[in-house]
């Protein structure tokens, strides 16, 4: 079953007097449990497509369905509800709320969902352990390294068991070792929890982890290939 279906998406931006094409009649279907990389140079439209899938940005035309939800028909409030209940986000930077500790950042989404305190505490502890941050639960973002911060963001993205994780340049601010560790974590979560991952990147090391690699240029999909995903040992 398809996790995401995008049909004929178009999006343009006005920059001064110039009209920039973000998405140019993009159609794509992503299966549940897939691990997809959107690649391409800056301005190719990968982030725009990712944001449209996550309901953060509205396309000018076209249809988007995530699971059973027709995203393009939703208002601001229901879109927020969909993001809360179905999607986990990992951004390039500014991923965490600086006044909250690692544990509180992870629990934040669960709090908004109204989950009980005991369950929040158990799951945040377990997930932080899973991403290798045991013992760092009470540190604030400023007391964590860039890689550790991204791990907290990943923990927060998956703690509510979303069906889809959208990651925008998650390794851009990380050194190669930390980036590799983060990608190993993504693959592990994908394989163990059957979470669909869609990652926008222009980092070739990240692309190597994908089962499906979609290349974009000038708002269009120029290639869509399946590839062998490396097996991560538990």
């Amino acid at each position: 079953m398809s996790s995401i279906v995008c049909k004929d998406l178009c999006k343009t931006f006005q920059q001064g007097e110039e009209i920039i094409t973000g998405l140019d009649h993009v159609s794509i279907e992503i299966d549940a449990g897939d691990f997809v990389c959107l690649s391409g140079p800056s301005g190719s439209g990968k982030t725009t497509l990712l944001n449209a899938m996550g309901g953060l940005d509205t396309p000018d035309s076209g249809r988007i369905r995530v699971g059973n939800t027709q995203v393009d028909e939703l208002g601001k409030g229901p879109l927020a509800d969909m993001r809360l209940h179905k999607i986990g986000f990992v951004f390039q930077a500014y991923n965490l709320i600086p006044v909250l500790t690692a544990r509180e950042n992870v629990e934040f989404v669960m709090q908004v969902r109204g989950e009980p305190a005991q369950e929040r505490s158990q799951r945040s502890h377990q997930i932080l352990k899973e991403v290798g941050l045991e013992g760092m639960e009470d540190r604030r973002p400023a007391q964590l390294s860039g890689g550790q911060q991204q791990r907290v963001a990943v923990a927060r993205a998956i703690v509510s068991k979303p069906t889809l994780v959208l990651a925008d340049e998650p390794t851009a601010n990380l050194d190669s070792v930390t980036a590799g560790q983060l990608m190993d974590l993504f693959v592990e979560l994908n394989q163990n929890h059957n979470i669909t991952f869609v990652i926008a990147t222009h980092d070739t090391r990240v692309m190597a982890y994908a089962r499906r690699l979609i290349k974009m240029r000038d708002g269009k999909i120029i290639s869509d290939e399946k590839q062998q995903q490396p097996q991560i040992e538990d």
Binding site: L56, D57, A80
Partner: protein, 411 residues
């Protein structure tokens, strides 16, 4: 509904407030001083107006008065009333009434060998009169009247000056009896009093009620029955009961109807306090809005992140309002403590005798007693909270209206 629980919202608001210690501290100081100014100045104004009203009521004197219906138009001896009957005496036992007295009150002329002045002659029953209006401690020469048949006369110090008379000297008091004949009598001055207001010393002279009744051939009749309670503001709670017992044949009026100027003074004061509090708040609101706008502006990306994570715009709005509420509550707490802490030591009175003459024209005495009223404090606090939250809606709305993508990409 994806709303952050109140506890989490409170915790987030609290930590956000202290992200910029200096700004929050400055804003708190501004709210504290503003609230202090509201409450402290209101206490001073209330104290001044209380003093004016109490002096005014004292010069009536009595918080509720029972008269002949025509007495206020023609305060002559012809418009007298009978002494209280049983039903009225029973009504006067209600707990709200702290004291009452009946008195003869007529316009009269007092003459010494040097001068003649128009006065108000009060024929009083001394024991009950001192509980209603006259302060026996204000006698600074001689003594006060001993009973209602006392044949002596007590006059004010200013009047003694005008008449160029003194303690122990005789004066003649003239008025009219009910048959419109001159009724006059020689009195020996047994006491001279000083009042808070010099005008009272020039207006009222006191003699025994029985003596005056005999002089004016009044029998047991009196001009008025004056009643007092613990708080002149609460007179409406009990005076209808007295009015009912006094019956239709007499006029029973509360102080604010006896002297409408005093009544309107109290209403004007309430309006003035409200205007004062709002003006101080308006000055504060600029700082409050600026603080919140800056707090929102600095956190645009974070707000975008919260929206991306699934926080509804309304929840963002509540979050910013919570920060404003916290700031206001802390400022109010400190402001209230500061106000109470500065008013209480001053409740023994502030000496304003340096401007006493000017103040006396307004009917206030030379000591100002700040009056801290719970109602005024509640009003100041409620106004600050309500208007504070209203003015915070603008920055909160702005935060809630951010587009998540634009907010996340803000540099």
């Amino acid at each position: 509904m994806n709303i952050l629980p109140l506890k989490a919202m409170f915790m987030l608001a609290w930590r956000n407030l202290w992200r910029n210690h200096r700004r929050t501290t400055i804003m708190l100081a501004a709210i504290t001083v503003g609230v202090w100014a509201m409450i402290f100045m209101t206490a001073l104004m209330r104290g001044m107006v209380d003093d004016m009203l109490l002096n005014g009521i004292r010069s009536l004197p009595g918080e509720v008065q029972i008269h002949h219906p025509a007495y206020r138009d023609d305060p002559s001896i012809n418009n007298s009333i009978a002494a209280p009957d049983e039903e009225l005496l029973k009504a006067l036992q209600i707990p709200q009434v702290t004291a009452w007295t009946s008195r003869v009150r007529v316009p009269a002329v007092i003459s010494s060998e040097r001068d003649t002045r128009g006065v108000v002659l009060l024929g009083i029953e001394p024991d009950s009169e001192v509980q209603v209006s006259f302060d026996a401690d204000t006698i600074y020469e001689g003594r006060f009247l001993e009973d209602s048949s006392d044949r002596g006369l007590v006059i004010g110090a200013k009047m003694a000056d005008h008449l160029e008379t003194d303690l122990g000297k005789r004066v003649v008091v003239m008025s009219q009896d009910p048959d419109n004949n001159i009724a006059d009598r020689g009195f020996r001055i047994v006491g001279i009093y000083k009042a808070k207001l010099a005008s009272l010393e020039e207006t009222y002279i006191y003699a025994g009620r029985d003596t005056v009744q005999k002089l004016l051939k009044l029998g047991d009749n009196v001009s008025e029955i004056a009643i007092t309670s613990e708080d002149y503001r609460n007179v409406d709670n009990w005076y209808p009961r007295i009015k009912q017992a006094a019956g239709e044949g007499v006029e029973t009026l509360p102080w604010y109807e006896v002297d409408t100027y005093l009544g309107s003074m109290l209403a004007m004061m309430d309006g003035f306090v409200l205007v004062w509090i709002i003006i101080v708040f308006l000055a504060l609101s600029f700082g409050l809005v600026n603080t919140l706008v800056m707090a929102v502006f600095e956190r645009v990306r974070e707000i975008g992140l919260m929206q991306a994570l699934g926080m509804r715009p309304s929840t963002i709005l509540y979050q910013i309002l919570m920060e404003s509420l916290l700031l206001l509550l802390i400022g109010l707490l400190l402001g209230n403590i500061l106000a109470v802490g500065t008013v209480i030591p001053l409740q023994a009175g502030i000496d304003i005798s340096i401007v006493a003459e000017g103040m006396e024209m307004m009917g206030t005495s030379s000591m100002l007693y700040p009056a801290l009223k719970l109602n005024d404090m509640i009003m100041a606090n409620v106004i600050v909270i309500v208007l504070g939250l209203l003015t915070s809606i603008l920055p909160a709305w702005r935060a809630a209206s951010y587009d998540p993508i634009e907010a996340l990409n803000k540099t």
